[in-house]
Every structure is written in structure tokens, then in C-alpha cells.
């Protein structure tokens, strides 16, 4: 579904990512694991072209992503970041953000369905200023899902949450992969989380993939 080939990015004086080749299939979760500064987030940002690769490319269903309009690419490969960055207004306003960029409006039923999917049924009219950290992160998942993505790029989505909220979001990630058939790429520095959520993993060190394969083999090697 999503295949990176020899993907890399350098900025003057620094190689952020180099020679990254991997793929992730529909309904599968791939974990990118590595210490701080190893280039995990930099690699993730290349997958939806928030940053421009200086080498290699990404194929989405076999099509070079440079042939896809950036906004369409980002609709198909949604992203959830460590901090949810909700927009001022209601939860429903946040879910409508993406569709409205494309001139579409979600019906109240679809909004409710998306919220129920992330465990927030009935939250549509709530002001985002009054949400807990875990609720805010669930809203950011629903907001990304409102664009009907085929892949989700998850950048340490639980690292700012307490244990309870973290477990809830982990369950949500499992559901998204299994029930909606969405390909997930999960950046995490937690080996345990990668084992719980991913089928396959790759380990990044200094911007280079040093191991990749089934999660048990890679993380216990």
C-alpha cells in the first residue's frame, strides 16, 4: 500500500534520514523504533511530504507520490502528532476541518459515527478547551479519520498522555488497523508499545534503518 524506496533527507551539514526502504500493507501496523534524535519523526514527515526528500521516493498503491497532488496525498495518508493541536471551537468543528478544505461537509450522523469510533460518542458540541489530554488525542484521531485516509502516520501519539489515556489510545490504534483496514506507521521510542501494537518493526539509528522485520524478531534480537 505504502512503499518507501531509498528515502532520505539531508539538510546542510546533517543527514536526517538515509536509504530508508520499507513497506506497509493495508490493515498492518509498522513501528519505527529508535532513540531520540535517530530520525524517526523526520522519516515520518517524509511519508506525507511535509518535508521534501532529497533522495528516493514513496509509492502509494504503486504510484510515485510526486505524481499525486500534495493535498490529496495528505488526505490519503493522514497524520496524528504527539500534541493534538486542536483548533478553537467544538469537537465537531475540528472533525469538519479536513472535509471543509475539500469543499465537503460531514453530516451530523457521520460526525457522531466518527466520534463513537474513538470512544467519544456525544462529544460533538463540546468545546475543545474543556477536554482532557486523552480526549483531545482521540479527537485528533477522529479528525484525521474524517478525511477517509488509507494510511495513518502516528508520531508518538501517546507520549504526552497518562497511563489510562495511553491504554485507551493504544486500543484505538489496534481497532483502526484491524477494523478499518488502515495501514498505520507508528513512531515510538517505547519497545513495549511497538510489541503491543505492531506486526512489523524497523529500528532507526542515526537516520539509517539498522534492522527490520517481524516485531518479535527485530525487537528481541
Amino acid at each position: 500500500m505504502l512503499r518507501a524506496e531509498d528515502l532520505g533527507r539531508s539538510v546542510p551539514g546533517k543527514v536526517l534520514v538515509t536509504g530508508a526502504t520499507f513497506e506497509v500493507h493495508k490493515g498492518e501496523t509498522l513501528a519505527i523504533v529508535g532513540p531520540s534524535g535517530s530520525g524517526k519523526s523526520s522519516l515520518l514527515r517524509l511519508l506525507n511530504r511535509l518535508d521534501e526528500p532529497t533522495s528516493g521516493t514513496v509509492y502509494l498503491d504503486g504510484v510515485d507520490y510526486r505524481q499525486i497532488a500534495p493535498r490529496e496525498l495528505r488526505r490519503r495518508a493522514g497524520m496524528v502528532t504527539q500534541r493534538p493541536y486542536l483548533f478553537p471551537g467544538t469537537v465537531a468543528d475540528n472533525l469538519q476541518f479536513g472535509p471543509r478544505q475539500r469543499g465537503q461537509e460531514l453530516s451530523p450522523e457521520v460526525v457522531e459515527e466518527l466520534l463513537a469510533g474513538v470512544g467519544l460518542a456525544g462529544y460533538g458540541s463540546r468545546d475543545v478547551a474543556n477536554l482532557s489530554g486523552g480526549e483531545a488525542q482521540r479527537v485528533s484521531f477522529a479528525r484525521a479519520l474524517a478525511n477517509s485516509p488509507e494510511a495513518l502516520l502516528l508520531d508518538e501519539p501517546t507520549s504526552a498522555l497518562d497511563d489510562d489515556a495511553k491504554r485507551g489510545v493504544e486500543t484505538l490504534i489496534q481497532q483502526i488497523g484491524r477494523e478499518q483496514g488502515i495501514a498505520c506507521v507508528l513512531v515510538t521510542h517505547e519497545v513495549g508499545q511497538a510489541e503491543r501494537l505492531a506486526e512489523r518493526a524497523l529500528i532507526l539509528e542515526a537516520g539509517r534503518i539498522v534492522r527490520s522485520g517481524p516485531v518479535e524478531e527485530v525487537l528481541r534480537a
Partner: protein, 262 residues
Amino acid sequence: MLKTWFHGQLQLGLAQAGVAALAALSVVLLAHRRGIHLEKELVIAMARGLVQIVAVGSILLLLLRRPSWTSVFLLLVMIVAAGATSARRAKGMPGAFEVSTGAIACGAGSVIALMTLLGVIDTPITALVPVGSMLIANAMNTNGLALNRFRSDVLAHVGEIETELALVADGKSSVAPYVQVSFEASLIPAIDSLRSLGIVWIPGLMAGMMLSGARPVYAAVYQFVVLAMIFASSGLTSLASTLLIRTRVMSPADQLILRPGT
């Protein structure tokens, strides 16, 4: 007091400049005590300013009897210099010089041209260059304020902007709120100048006109004319620069180029 010690006009002028510079330096000293270091920037700016204004004064003296089109050349040079100066307030922003120069040319240049054509600004070099330079200088300040505010707002909201981009927003609309705030903030000094005209301050141009024999009412009205022109040229410049710069901080693939560390 200075007049009792200095009798020649030039000596008196230099002494007055020295005292005024001391006042500015004392502010730098106060700022230094609070850990704010403006020494180098201010000393260079004051030295440059003094040399430049004396040089322009001398050039004007030489050009007094030249044809009017000479002023167009002088004003163009001023626009380029203003573009270079205010672009320094936009460190790390790609194309800041081109954007600043283009915006000042569009804002100040068009107002000067229109007002000269309509007869609001007189064509002799002694009128066109000083009034034109006032419009350019104010447009430069407004442009610097707008770009500086835009830069700091974008850098403070990288997360929000990239969240919008990741949610399919286009580059221009994701920075639009910061364009609007920068535009509004940059015009605060020009609006306050107009609002407080005659109450808080009596500008030098009016005083100069009265000293040279103009009727006080005409001098006052013309001062309003100048400030209205300053507002028009500053507003147009700020509008142009904020609209132009938003296309420079985004790549054609809607990627935010201006990021911390750039």
C-alpha cells in the same frame, strides 16, 4: 545653553547631534543593565544615519538645479536601500529582500507617483525627494514590522500550521491568520500618528513650513496630507509584503519552509 558655546551653524549642529546621541546611548546603557544588548546595532545605526543624511543633504544641494527626473532616480535608490534595510528584520525568510523592495516600490512608489501626478506633491526636487523619502522611510518601517511579526508568529505556530497542512489545508490558508495579524500590527504606529496629530506631536515638516513662511493653517493641512499619504503607502506596502511573503514561506508542495533554526 549650547548656543552660548557654539556660534557657527555647523558647530552648533554637530554639538546638538552629539547631545542627542548621548541621550540615545544612555538608553542603551539602561538596556545593557537589564541584559539587553543593543550597543553595536545602535552605534552602527547612528553612525550610518548621520553619514547618510549628511551625504543625501549634500547630494540634494548638488542636484537643486538638475531636472525633475533626477528625483525619480534618487527615490528608486532609496526604495532599494529601504528594501535591504527592512529585509534584515526578516531573518531566515526566503526572498525577504525581493519581497521588501517589491512591496515598498508598490506601496510607497505608487502613492508617490499618483500624488505627484495629481499635484499633491510638488515636482521640484526639493519637494519631491524629501516628501517621497518620508513615505519610503515609513513604508520601510511598516514593512519591517510586518515581516518581523509574521516571522515570529509563524515560528511560534509551526505545530498548528503543519497540523492544518496534514489535514489537507493549502499553504496559503494555513498561514492566513498570521498574515492578517502582521498586517494589523504593522499599521499601529501609522494609525496612532494620524490619531494623535496635533495633540501629542507637531511634526517637523509643519514646523519647517511655518519657519519658512507658510501660513500655519496651510502647514497644518499639508501635514495631514503627508500623514494620510504615509498611511496609504505604509498600508499598501504592508499588504503587498504580507501577501508576497506567505508564498515564500511555503514550497510549491505546500511544505512550511520557515522553521525554527532556519
